[in-house]
């Protein structure tokens, strides 16, 4: 439940839940988000959920910090926790082969797992989209199985190719566009998680669940081509 509510500047309220990365706590965050959205409160400028916190932006001309705080307190007293089935489940194909699997060898050495075992572990469970941040559309997914939990790279790469799938700490994520970055790269998905020219540019939203599926090089290349030609069957992601 809510631990504290503090200002994040003069036009946002930060609601902190129990400080831990867990599905249970994140479901409480999501419940609060949907309750606030449902009530369409006047003066709210944004809702930004993270692992165990929710930032609520407000327009001080329409709503005061104290009014908002007391409204959130009232709402939180009758929260019904989100169940796991509320988010969508999205199946994302990933090619875990060279030249895309930039750090698979290194992760294999560091964890003592074979490359096949790493892929099996990474594709073995579904992950929760805890938050989007860093870059437009960058999903922070978790919780990574313990044997795969390794720190970020000591020296970040200057350029990680778009759609690369990486791991860092408890998290796995997908680079929506090419950028510098410090996550360990296991492979690449042919599916863009961010497409700036779409009306809705974001494939994922907070609360969705993602399951990775290993594909071979031929399948990867064919999916990239189909997506570029507009002939990709997007329904396969939600199957």
């Amino acid at each position: 439940m809510i631990q504290e509510m503090v200002p994040l500047g003069d036009s946002a309220l930060l609601v902190n839940f129990e400080s831990q990365i867990s599905i249970k706590i994140h479901q409480q965050v999501l419940s609060l988000v949907s309750e606030i959205e449902h009530r369409q409160l006047v003066g709210i400028t944004f809702l930004q959920p993270a692992y165990c916190s929710l930032a609520i932006g407000f327009d001080p001309a329409k709503l005061s910090f104290l009014e908002l705080k007391s409204t959130v307190r009232k709402i939180s007293q009758k929260l019904i926790s989100h169940s796991k089935s509320d988010g969508r489940l999205i199946h994302l194909p990933v090619c875990y082969q060279p030249p895309y699997a930039l750090d698979l060898d290194e992760i294999s050495q560091r964890t003592g797992l074979t490359k096949e075992e790493i892929v099996d572990r990474h594709t073995g469970i579904s992950y929760q989209v805890f938050m989007l941040g860093f870059l437009p559309g960058f999903p922070y997914l978790g919780i990574l199985p313990k044997p795969l939990q390794v720190p970020r790279k000591e020296t970040p790469r200057l350029q990680i190719p778009e759609r690369s799938v990486g791991i860092a700490g408890l998290q796995t994520g997908i680079y929506p566009s090419s950028s510098p970055g410090g996550w360990n790269i296991l492979g690449v998905t042919p599916v863009p998680v961010f497409n700036g020219s779409n009306k809705n540019p974001f494939l994922l939203r907070v609360g969705d669940r993602v399951k990775f599926q290993a594909i071979g090089m031929d399948e990867y290349k064919s999916a990239v081509r189909l997506i570029a030609e507009g002939a990709f069957d997007w329904d396969t992601l939600y199957g």
Binding site: G9, A50, C52, S53, A55, G57, F134, G137
Partner: protein, 282 residues
């Protein structure tokens, strides 16, 4: 040097990791628009340290606000902070900043730009793909459907040198930071480093007494959030900053003083003053 298009920005897309953008000195951008009869957050051109040279074709009103810049219209000096009527072909040349850092050009009417996520602000990343119309470089053109509404008569106080005292509210992790570092935060005069831009300002020198870094789970940040990195470096997040962060949020700059910071440049000095929410809304 850098010139961008800025309007109200993309605050409502923070849950998707999209930076807010918008003017670094929102008050000055708004004044420029009000002077020419535009809505408050109509697009404006924001220029930094050195203004652009622009050929203006057609009839309409313009106004330039913000820091103090040398303004020449067809090689004649013109005043800042007032609406100027133009007809035919004119050349506006803006020199370097004499005071402040950023200036704003408003032009009366509807700017014919394609928005991305409801805003024409120049996207900080992938600009050519996301906001090609708002990518301002040599040779760029913008079409504006000139429209003149009733111009309001009002006085704008002349720009004065910023005092350098920035008011801050305690941030979510303020109370987790050791008292020696907090004392240092308020005793030190910080210098805005050369590694400063629309995403954030890095401050020199780092807090020397910050020895035991506070670890937090990644969470929301907003423009004005002051992050404290593990090496004691303070970073003030500005308009184009990313939306989440894993460093402790020691403080947040009050909105009005974020505009003051928007007019500061590398080498400028600041001190912090702690205020309460009650004080901000008095």
């Amino acid at each position: 040097m850098q010139t961008t298009v800025q309007d109200h920005g993309r605050m409502s897309y923070r849950a998707f990791g999209v930076p807010k953008s918008g003017p670094m000195d929102a008050g000055s951008a708004r004044k420029a628009n009000l002077l020419v009869g535009n809505p408050d957050f109509n697009p404006v051109l924001e220029f930094t340290l050195q203004g652009p040279v622009i050929e203006l074709l057609g009839q309409g009103y313009i106004a330039v606000t913000g820091g103090v810049f040398d303004l020449k219209l067809n090689q004649q000096s013109i005043p800042q902070n007032q609406a100027i009527e133009l007809k035919g072909k004119n050349k506006l040349a803006i020199g370097s900043a004499q005071l402040g850092c950023r200036g704003y050009i408003a032009v009366a009417g509807e700017w014919l730009l394609s928005p991305w996520l409801e805003s024409c602000s120049t996207a900080p990343q992938n600009t050519a793909q996301l906001t090609p119309d708002s990518l301002i470089q040599k040779g760029s053109e913008i079409s504006i459907k000139s429209m003149v509404r009733d111009l309001l008569e009002f006085d704008i106080p002349a720009t004065s040198a910023p005092s350098g005292v920035i008011r801050i509210l305690a941030g979510p992790e303020y109370h987790l930071i050791d008292t020696d570092s907090i004392k240092e935060l308020f005793k030190t005069t910080f210098t805005i480093s050369s590694q400063s831009n629309r995403m954030g300002y890095r401050l020199n020198a780092p807090l020397s007494r910050y020895q035991e870094p506070v670890d937090i789970i990644s969470s929301a940040v907003v423009p004005g959030t002051i992050q404290l990195t593990n090496s004691g470096q303070l970073i003030i997040l500005m308009a184009d900053a990313q939306t989440t962060g894993g460093y402790p949020r020691i403080a947040n700059v009050v909105s009005a003083d974020l505009d003051v910071l928007g007019q500061m440049k590398p080498g400028d000095q600041i001190r912090f003053q702690l205020v309460s929410l009650k004080h901000v809304f008095q």
